[in-house]
Amino acid sequence: MSKFKNIKKDFPIFERDINGNKLTYLDSGATSQKPNSVIDKMTEIYKFNNANVHRGTYVLSAETTQEYESVRTKFQSFLNASESDEIIFTKGTTEALNFLANSIANKFMGEGDEIILSEIEHHANIIPWQMVAEKYKLSIKYVKVNEDFSLDLDDLSSKLSSKTKVVSIVGESNLSGMLPDIKEINNLVRANSEALLIIDGAQLVPHRKVDVQDLGIDFLVFSGHKMLGPTGIGVVWGKKELLNSLDPVYGGGDMIEEVHYDKATWAPVPHKFEAGTPPYVEAIGLGAAVDYLQDLGMSEVEKHSDELREYGRKVLLDIDGVNVIHSQETIAGCTFGMYVDGVHAADLSLMLDTHGVAVRAGHHCVQPFHRKLGIDATIRSTAYIYNDKEDIDTLKSALISSVEMLR
């Protein structure tokens, strides 16, 4: 029997009734729901183990420290990293990108250097670069997105040069589900520049098997809460020699080796990047989420996502009057941006909510790309492991009846 058949039972939120309907949760691109194993693990830590990590020489602290550090090892295997020290915990993808932008610009960049992003980046992969660009007098170039929502890799090639110091690209589009060819991007970056390649894996890592060594990239960032884990925890994976060469952005707490009144020296990676008390309970909760995904098997998670995406394409692409923003490549994420001419996305999502259907409305933090498409706002359906074909059917029928009411 499919591992996904009764999976909703592992997620207590699906016991809820929304406006007299069962919950059809299709907003996992914003955040995922949490299985009992994650919730229970965090409760267990607070109830029976809680003590600050790396500090106390007593049983509780030793236990939480051991659990916290073991999550790095889980991610080493999850991402096929060469060492567990290459895993740095952050608050989430946004903080991870802010950290990398500041640390890399400070160490490796100077006036006139260039950063390459794409037109479809999340604001979290634009604004930190704009901020450092202003401070260090750098310039930003945006790789074009084709009409079928794929990245124009010829445009990337033409923009790469000896001036390019960073290329930071989304691993899976949060609006169209587009999956760029990361290996090809890596080849182009290596052949035409000496830039560091960062992949924003916020939407990619929860859904697809990622092997950082096979991809050849320099950094991968992602959030825990989109992959069944709690909020407030995310990851930067980086090549060890690069992490060694970067300086911390935040100081204080456990990130030091020695502190004097006039100077300080840093602890080795990963701890030099983890100032202050880390969100260790969240990290341990995220470890339980990784266990849950590993038990399912990431290749099964991918297969499930691919099946639902194909079903979504069959069902959602031909609804009368509904325009769909979705990757036209064979393989893509199960993410569908949608808009209806003459109907506001906010109205549509409010009406869908009355059917128990939870989708996102707005610009989904990709405002420049909406502007490029000439659309104010869209609704977005993003599915995850607990969604099934019935959820897509519910979305379709709710969409049809909502559009009818709003026209």
């Binding site: 506001h344 906010a346 109205d347 409010l350 009406m351 706002a377 709003l406």
Partner: protein, 137 residues
């Protein structure tokens, strides 16, 4: 009718509808009835900040009373702003400022009137009160 009487009147109407869907449908009808807003008044200085959709509120003073003309590019928000504008229209600025009725408490209007929302109805009310305050001072 006083602000209190108008609120009670709307409460009676909204109570007829058994669920959010029918309440939203009522707001959509209210929005469609409100076709008097001149499109040239869709100006940034009349925009209500903090709404998910674009909402405009234009005050007008007549015979020492305030009137509000409203519009939105979304139907449910337009219905809501039409309803709120009619409650506070034809009232003296002093009465608007001193009135302490909490619409979020009075009306059951699903997520659009949830007090936790940092936008929407809260911003509309705040804008109306600010217009009234400006007239007094």
């Amino acid at each position: 009718m006083s602000i209190r009487e108008k609120v009670d009147e709307y409460k009676k109407i909204l109570d007829i509808f058994p669920n959010d869907q029918e309440k939203y449908q009522y707001l959509i009808e209210k929005a469609k009835e409100n076709d008097s807003f001149p499109s040239e008044l869709r100006l940034d200085n009349f925009k209500v900040n903090g709404c998910q959709s674009q909402v405009w509120l234009v005050p007008e003073e007549k015979d020492e009373k305030l009137f509000f003309n409203s519009d939105s590019d979304a139907l449910i928000a337009k219905g809501l702003v039409t309803l709120i504008a009619s409650i506070y229209s034809d009232e003296k600025a002093e009465d608007i400022v001193s009135n302490e009725i909490d619409l979020m408490e009075e009306f059951e209007l699903g997520v659009i009137l949830s007090p936790a929302r940092r936008n929407g109805a809260y911003s509309m009310l705040k804008t109306i009160k600010e217009y009234a305050k400006k007239l007094i001072t």
